[in-house]
Subunit: 601 residues, 2 copies
């Protein structure tokens, strides 16, 4: 039986690109994409992607060339997920929250040949290009500098340009009868996209996905989320996060409709849900706050009924969603599924698969179960929680912690041009997530912390996530982060940084308020796990992707002494200056700043 | 990016075997299998499969060794789908409708090392073993003869034996801590099963599936059928058909419950649906007749409501389901999805994906749309309809016929020890299905005929399937088959063979009845397509799998002259003698004879 050979009929490269011609064949006239008053069908989207690929080939872009793009969730970014790899090239969607310096670093590291820039990001892109030119300096050569192509708004063009070329013109000049891979061979291990991590704990790394991994992840996630045929998918999750958790390709696989929005604000999301009958969306838990705070006011919403006339499926991940927040968002009519993943695992790797028997439990029990990270998607061969020193699995008792490790064909190829980081990420045939978790007796995984975020107090491990979950249940707490604070006796002890709904706390009430919160935690946690200190901030320090920068808070926490000394207001100003420099050309909705807390995804 | 290497963490062999440890981990206590009063959980099923694999290894069964089995849908056959390949071996589930001679041929051709035999099939198996021993004759060597292991009924053992060993004892002697593939390497291109085709048009061929193909097919079919989590799956389709259209593995992937039944009769199916709350089942369209004829009588069933208290999802295939039959079965409360496939495509390759807009159409229009074969599953890279001479695609007009061709990683590795047949099956990077079809303007495929079944009349192609579909709409026609009859002027002309609900037709009424049926066809078909002759049989000649043997009917048709000569009753007796020899040891429900018309699947 081993003599039976592979051939072109029975061994085709696995690639999500195959979903597009299939969609164009089966769902030719069905809406593929809606953006403002722009509507495309799958027939049109296929033709546009062929044109784009052909145009890139005529610019001499081909196998393994990197094509970078800086854009919000507009049609062009969607089309590039097919058009760029159909030219044989590798798509690098850059996080739009990054500054010029970060962007220049990525363009240089990725050796991008083309740099697509949405008109809105022209100022930061020009600055990045200036920095890039400076950095290549005396060794300057044309080949080190990408060709810049601006993306004008396809729905309402405004004429803003950066350089000569414009996306829509380039695309329309392409050949609609282009045949992908006619002049090159596609191997399923070939790279398809390059995604830079946000670097919560270290410098950004370029994660390379293969066609094989993306194909398998896409199918597995549709399956695990049970996304049915003909979904209407709202792009509330940036496509630059793990290629939209693979749904850039997944919506094509399902013959769905992509609803693209430039700004992820409550108004636009509710508008899309109402007008286009959105059935599915993904987002970080922080977007729940946007949806809750910005929900339509009565008469549209009566308190005694859910806000939505039908349940909208929401896949959430990126940070453990506090159970209290899950309860609130589901009351509005959203039906939440919780996933856990990382850029290195091609997006969601675990999904909290719901079990029918749980329906009989009270709401808050259900939310607790739903806040767990869950079970592996089918593209993973195996997942486990291990003691990294011995590589022995922890008992499935819901208590013993270890590092979550994964194996399977949906794990990244590795980090681009970083052999050492790649080597460190893999150990004994496992990918190390860097996340600390437990396995419950029922086989469900739960994250307890990032390895670096564990607080070790008197020899006991304290999960900062667990303490944060309790803080989020407090009605007046909007955001919370818990880190280790040095302690002369215990070594470390938890210190909580919180922002309040009522924004500021009068100086003279801080001590009282702090004690009240500590007491609140002690009602739900062992005393050693409750924060010994609570610091009130106006805003928590965040990375460009909106992930809370715990290393800054840890630095801050070192300046405090544990109680009985009273709390003090820290140098909020300096933290804010450091982290929330608002760019003058950033015309986005201010709430967008909060949206993108999806650094691990 | 090409320098990033594959490693054990990011490139694991795709195999449906991975679904079982995952199921045992996540759904440990959930029911995996019900058979009579026997109940297993996923934890137990995993342990049993490990034991089985370990026992086979201790019998020195390993890489690429064939393990044959002759059994109905009992737990042992389910467990072998994991246990046998977990030993590195290749499972060969033999069609239980075959006779001793067929079975001996398969055992010899496959070089089976072990032959598991369900107690019910001991007589035919002993006869097959006798024939096998005779055939190896003077060259007899122990290695040519498989070790026979009987499978006693796990639910109510009866002590029937053939040789020394018994399945349950063998299994229990195995090691539950066995580690699969610890002493051999699994490559995803390795064979996992060997399925002999029923040979409608030629001698049986051994179709080899790879781990990769089975994995991809399983996931794609769950996705395309939208089979949700926690299904209760009734085994109305024999597992020996393409490994139960991959649902042997698929139910594990979904954490479902397998409901095994020994006899596919109406009583047992309705019992399972009622008692175990079956959600999903697969079957050939002919099973619809069993369900319709054997439906529970009132008071359980009131005419004004559907029979089932909730819709049962049914995936059907193997033969184009007549639209009229679809309508009737759906009235009972079954919700039918139509699939098309072949053994060579690892089961269903096309699924008639339902489109929401079709819900607005009248019932009979819906049934017509549903009777089409549909669109490709996601494991196929491409499907097309081509003129085999030029390999040019036909226009998508719903009229132009050509051969349906497939490409993708779910296509078989090839035919075991048959290089010529393998070479013929593949052409220019395509697998040739041998089925003639059209592509409708909406991208949906529809089969018009098996290549050999096309009737060419006066230079016009007539699809026998199309004529049969009309005949099935006739209230008194139970089964129909249309073949070519020689015609002095037109070359060929359609001849219909039918069985009636009212069974026999008095001799003196045959001509009248024939004219009535021809008239009935002419009301729906162009005159040249309507049968020129109608022959009334008590039973149609069938293969061991229940597929109508058109070559016999063609031979019979050659003995007739076209009208105006009147029809005559043909040699029904001889046909019956040839095809429906009932074995004395076959204790099955007589209706089972009709069940297995799934030769192309």
């Amino acid at each position: 039986m081993d003599r039976l050979p592979k051939c072109a009929a029975n061994h085709t490269p696995l690639s999500p690109l195959t979903f597009l011609p299939r969609a164009a064949s089966v769902y030719f006239d069905r809406l593929s994409l809606i953006y403002g008053s722009t509507h495309f069908t799958w027939g049109q989207t296929y033709e546009r992607c062929l044109r784009l690929a052909s145009s890139l080939r005529s610019l001499n872009i081909g196998k393994n060339d990197v094509v970078s793009v800086l854009a919000p969730n507009v049609p062009a970014l969607y089309e590039m997920h097919f058009g760029v790899p159909m030219a044989g090239a590798v798509l690098n969607a850059i996080n739009t929250r990054l500054d010029a310096n970060n962007i220049a670093t990525i363009l240089k590291h990725s050796e991008a040949k083309v740099f697509f820039v949405d008109y809105q990001y022209v100022p930061v892109a020009s600055e990045a290009m200036r920095l890039l030119c400076d950095s290549v300096g005396s060794t300057i050569s044309r080949s080190s500098i990408p060709l810049v192509i601006v993306i004008d708004d396809v729905d309402s063009p405004n004429g803003i340009r950066l350089g000569e070329l414009e996306y829509e013109n380039l695309l329309l000049s392409g050949n609609p009868n282009y045949v992908p891979f006619s002049d090159q061979i596609l191997d399923e291990w070939d790279p398809i996209t390059l995604n830079y991590t946000s670097g919560t704990t270290s410098a950004p790394k370029g994660v390379v996905y293969s066609h094989r991994g993306s194909y398998l992840s896409t199918k597995s996630l549709i399956l695990q989320w049970e996304m049915k045929s003909e979904p209407v998918y709202l792009w509330s999750l940036p496509m630059f996060h793990c290629n939209g958790w693979t749904f850039t390709w997944g919506v094509a696989a399902r013959g769905g409709t992509n609803v693209c929005i430039r700004n992820t604000c409550a108004e636009d999301m509710y508008h899309a849900i109402t007008v286009h009958k959105v059935t599915h969306m993904c987002c970080a838990p922080i977007v729940f706050n946007i949806l809750l705070e910005g929900k339509p006011k009565p008469p549209h919403h009566h308190n005694n009924q859910s806000l939505l006339s039908y349940p909208v499926e929401v896949l959430t991940g990126g940070a453990p969603p506090p159970a209290a927040l899950l309860e609130k968002i589901e009351e509005l009519g959203f039906h939440v599924t919780h996933a856990y993943g990382l850029t290195e695992a091609t997006g969601p790797a675990l999904v909290c698969e719901w079990q029918t028997k749980w329906n009989a439990l009270p709401n808050h029990e259900q939310s607790k179960l739903k806040a767990r990270q869950g079970v592996s998607v089918l593209s993973l061969a195996e997942i486990d929680v291990k003691d990294l020193e011995t590589m022995v699995s922890v008992p499935r008792d819901g208590k013993s912690v270890g590092e979550i490790v994964l194996r399977g064909s949906s794990i990244m190829k590795g980090y681009f041009k970083d052999e050492e980081a790649t080597r460190k990420a893999f150990k004994n045939g496992w990918f190390l997530t860097g996340d600390v978790g437990v396995i419950h007796p029922d086989g469900y995984f739960e994250i307890k912390d990032r390895s670096k975020d564990v607080i070790i107090s008197g020899g006991e491990n304290i999960s900062s996530v667990e303490v944060e979950a309790v803080l989020y249940r407090h009605t007046n707490i909007l955001e919370a982060a818990v880190v280790a604070m040095p302690h002369p006796f215990f070594g470390e002890t938890p210190c909580a940084f919180v922002t309040l709904r009522s924004k500021s706390v009068p100086k003279n009430e801080e001590t009282k308020k702090e004690r009240e919160i500590i007491e609140f935690c002690r009602n739900s946690l062992p005393h050693f796990m409750a924060p010994r200190k609570v610091v009130f901030l106006e805003e928590l320090p965040k990375t460009a992707t909106g992930k809370i920068q715990k290393f800054e808070l840890r630095a801050l926490a070192k300046t405090y002494r544990p109680p009985p000394t009273s709390s003090s207001t820290p140098q909020v100003k300096s933290i804010n200056q450091h982290t929330t420099t608002r760019r003058p050309y950033d015309h986005q909705h201010p709430q967008l700043e909060q949206v993108l807390a999806i650094s691990r995804l």
